[in-house]
Amino acid sequence: MKRSDAPIDQGRRAFLAGSGLMVSFALLGSWRAFAGQENTLGATILAPDLPGDLKIEPVLDAWIKIDARGVTVCSGKVELGTGVRTALWQVAADQLAMPLERFTFVTADTALTPDEGYTAGSHTMADGGTAIYHAAAQVRQMLLDAAAAKLGVPARELALHDGVIVAADGRQLTYEQAAEGVDLHQRAKPVSPDSDPSTFRYIGHAIPRVDIPAKVTGGAAYVQDMRLEGMLHARVVRPPDASAQLESVDTRAVEAMPGVVKVVRDGNYLAVLAEREWQAVQAMRALREAARWRSTRRYPGNDTIHAALKALPQRIYVTTREGNGPVRQSQHAAPDAAPAAPSPATLSVGFGKQYVIHGSIGPSCAVAVYRDGMLTVWTHTQGVFPLRAGLAEWLGLPKDKLRCIHVEGAGCYGHNGADDAAADAALLAFRTPGRPVRVQWMRDQEAAWEPLGPAMLTELEAFADEAGQLQAWRHALWSTPHNERIVNAGRLIPARLLARPVASAPSAPIPQPEGDADRNAVPLYRIPSVRVDMHFVTEMPFRTSAMRSLGGHINVVTIESAMDELAERFGQDPVAYRLRHLDDARAREVIQRAADRFGWNGGQALPDGHGVGFAFSQYKNLMGYCAIALEVKLDKQARSVQIVRAVAAVDCGQIVNPDGLRNQIEGGIVQSSSWTLYEQVLIGEGGVRSVDWSSYPILRFPQAPVAIDVQMIDRPGHAFLGAAEIAQGPTAAALVNAIKRITGHRPLHLPLARQDSPLFA
């Protein structure tokens, strides 16, 4: 099978070809991704000609090892709760023609696996899956060739069957036998041998996830479940806010508590280690009470944050697309005069969004041990290699004396507290040689100290001709960074708290076309002149970083609201109006499929208080396509908004695991509706005030949608496009559009449906 992995690469190439862009970033010097050396997930590109993550790890035996013990496949990607472990495994199994149980599959361990940077941004299948797809195909061919030589028959007369190579005359070789004398330590080739999809037993099939049986029966599945011999339990005590200085703490009483092994105090860093977990919890409480802090900073509140974003120091990144040309991005120190747009605007609309949290159900946790000069950290980070680099820099250890091993944590939706908790464990183990240390954050610590999903503001002006055809588009947005990954030790919170703190590296956004706060801000719609001004606020009142879909959530809400408003303005059906502005056949198909399946006909007759909404986006304009139609019920008396029926149509290229994909889309719709309807971090003068699930309520069962129907369009032979984040934007936008239909007013502030929402007035 010839694969076209083209869409993403073309997008990148087209983008990189924009010459003005290269110049402006070369001048800047801070944007390493554009030097062609590092991809957006923090890994260095060594072989730009190879597919997927073979670009960053081109040597075959980094991915696949065959020795006397059997076949081992390695991936630098991690399981974050989306089922990718099974999906990657499936890809390897089919390409190697081996059943899942016949080979070992290892993920993210700095001692064993390739460095694929972070597992994020729906890149896992696109980059990691593609790499395994090709590496396995190439290794398979090498095994066949070797077997052919050993058996003295042409390779094409050999068949592969369950990990055995069979000749026409019945002679067999196991892979291990065939691999003898074969050197897999070689560079992969840009083109792989074809595969016949009709032989696939895994790819494209709803293979049950390998991790589920243990998870439903109480097997050890998470880093939280690790119990090492002699392990100490640690708890940290964090300052009341990021500015607070520890004025005094009398640790004697805490040190005398039962089971307490030691109290660690270093600058503003406080932690306690105890023999048993409950002892650690009680000691933490006592330590918290004993500590006196002085805060030096006042924070904006929920009412003032958007004004604050406009006023804080910022850089401006302008992205343009003229005609059918490439997307170009450049940076400015201050707003320049926007090129004259045909005025006045046909439509202006803008949205405000509050800070949100990832809110994994299990607060962050890590285990570490420092023994014989070697520091080992078990962590649920998204990137074991960047974490190792940050820890090595901080603790002054050579990288080969530090090993980071990924073990699953609770669901991860972006840059949460995992790395910081790993740094806690590393520091405490480093200072307690010989004994493993387990650090478990408490709920309030996770809520207050995980990097938040940024508060944002958007302002959009759209210009159309009399017939309603879009002519120009001006989108401005304000946000703090969405990508404060571990590029240096200062990105780790514990490193900032010590008496000798490490400063965080300067912030830099993920460039277009992937985008940061401006992710998905360039509409896919045909518009002759598009300009997006991202006001990249560099002084963060609250630390923010990556959370599913980054700015895409609010940008898609903004774009898709505008499309609905414009359709209404010109008396057109919103679905038809979108199609009228779309050339991309795959985009058109998901929209059509969602509309047909939903029975969209514009003027649905619905019960009182019900309304329908539609929205679409292609994630990052490069990845999965997703169109969603919703029926929503607004009950003012009960103060509730509920999705009665959702139909999603998605195209994520070649589908590896249909049930896994469906699961991701269902989850995305539920999670995004929770964000959109209910979620906001409560902030005030003293900082974050919502530190539990009562002050930060999320969707519960009674509020879950009544029904979700996911339509999947399979594209065998096309690139894997990733799915975990593609529903976030369209779900939110469809909700806003439905509410506009019900009430006649477009809500412009998220979240939409908290108790005091004007919706219920």
Binding site: P240, Q282, R285, R288, E289, M442, R443, D444, A448, D608, Q637, A638, R639, S640, L677, Y678, G686, G687, V688, R689, S690, V691, D692, W693, S694, S695, P697, I698, L699, R700, P702, Q703, A753, R754, Q755, D756, S757
Partner: protein, 421 residues
């Protein structure tokens, strides 16, 4: 007629008059059904009605758990038996769809149904009677524009004599002073009086009841018991260790949480949810009026503390560490970042009866049906046994400044468990 006959005749006459009077009180004519509401349902009037109905808390009693709003069916447990609230949606068969405004007004003023039967005084017509015609008309307009729900009335569970409704006439004779109140000034406290005594019917819960279920007027607002919860005295708000301010009362009534005094629980919680929807000035008026009712602290002789008080407090402190401290301990996130008061300051711990402390521990505070409110507490009825509840309550009480230990704690805990399956 001799003297004896005269006396007999007199008694007879008195009897006749009595019976006549009784019949006049107990038997009311039906009011003819109407085909459609006989008040012009203008949007402005409906909007005003929404406010009146919220202030009157109608939805609280007239909605069953999980049921449709205003469709009735909520069981009201009284010392006399269980009553079920009725459907006040404009359904023609089972609701008030055929009621004229006059029928509605008579129900609100006299406690008489459209067909003439007397309503049980669990329906607080003795307070609603004070509401002005104007406001009644608005409430009527609002209710008549709700979605009709077919919901037949459930049979009340009452002992036989009480099922005989005309007997209510005597009750009315004792307790009903038919309104409306003469118009009052616009000063906040005056408006507040109208809301507290009329629509809000606060004293239905916050005044102790006599043996036949009427409010003891002499002890008005001195606190009552409803549904096993204490409805605290409303005339001691200024006498609390941290006297309530008007602002705190307003916050409490509108959000269910006062920063210095704790959270609304039990039957008070839905009341605060309703008051969260009415204009702020209404709640300010209520607060202003309540503050005019304040009396000096009524002191009760502190009972002798139970003998094992110290051990009990120690045990309670332990239970607190395992079950409560994550949220309520010193320095806990709830008290730090979220700014909640120490439990020692909450009226449930400081008040004269342990009832609400015990009830709250046992039953917790349910999640609000809709996200956005921040008060929640898990129930501990299945977790802690009687002794542990009593111990932890005794411990909490010991942390409250100048509060004498509660006596009879064990009995109270056992009683509340038995009463609440």
């Amino acid at each position: 007629m001799n003297r004896r006959q005269k006396i007999l005749a007199g008694i007879g006459a008195a009897g006749f008059i009595g019976i006549g009077l009784f019949l006049a009180l107990a038997i009311k004519p039906a009011i003819a059904p109407v085909a459609r509401p006989d008040v012009a349902l203008s949007p402005a009037l409906v909007a005003q009605g929404e406010r009146i109905v919220a202030l009157g808390d109608c939805v609280v009693c007239h909605t069953a758990p999980g049921g449709r709003a205003y469709a009735g069916g909520l069981p009201l447990k009284t010392p006399f038996g269980t009553l079920y609230t009725t459907n006040i949606t404009p359904d023609r068969g089972t609701g008030i769809g055929e009621w004229s405004f006059e029928a509605f007004r008579r129900a609100m003023r006299q406690g008489v149904s459209r067909d003439g039967h007397l309503l049980y005084p669990a329906f607080p017509y003795i307070h609603y009677t004070k509401v002005t015609d104007e406001d009644l008309r608005a409430a009527y307009a609002f209710l008549m524009t709700r979605t009709p729900v077919h919901a037949p009335a459930r049979r009340n569970e009452l002992p036989l004599p009480l099922r005989f409704r005309p007997s209510l006439a005597f009750w009315n004779l004792l307790y009903l002073r038919e309104g409306p109140e003469p118009a009052t000034g616009d000063a906040p406290a005056e408006r507040g009086r109208y809301l507290v005594e009329g629509l809000g019917h606060c004293s239905s819960c916050h005044t102790p009841l006599g043996v036949i279920g009427g409010e003891k007027h002499r002890e008005s607002m001195q606190g009552g018991v409803v549904d096993d919860w204490s409805a605290p005295a409303l005339d001691q708000l200024a006498a609390a260790p941290q006297p309530w301010t008007a602002g705190q009362i307003v916050d409490y009534l509108r959000t269910g949480l006062a920063s210095e005094h704790g959270a609304a629980a039990g039957p008070m919680r839905p009341v605060t949810e309703n008051l969260g929807r009415v204009p702020r000035e209404d709640v300010q008026a209520i607060a202003a009026y309540l503050l005019t009712l304040q009396k000096p602290l009524r002191t009760v002789e502190p009972p002798a503390p139970p003998g094992d008080q110290d051990q009990r407090i120690d045990r309670g402190r332990q239970v607190f560490a395992g079950a409560c401290a994550e949220c309520h301990g010193e320095g806990s996130p709830m008290r730090g970042a979220m700014g909640r008061p120490a439990l020692a300051m909450s009226s449930a711990v400081f008040g004269p009866s342990p009832r609400n402390a015990v009830m709250t521990i046992r039953e917790g505070l349910a999640w609000p049906s809709q996200p956005g409110s921040t008060t929640y507490m898990p129930p501990f009825a299945d977790v802690l046994n009687d002794r542990q509840i009593a111990d932890v309550v005794a411990y909490l009480r010991s942390t409250a400044p100048h509060a004498a230990p509660w006596s009879g704690l064990d009995e109270q805990v056992a009683h509340l468990r038995e009463n609440r399956p």
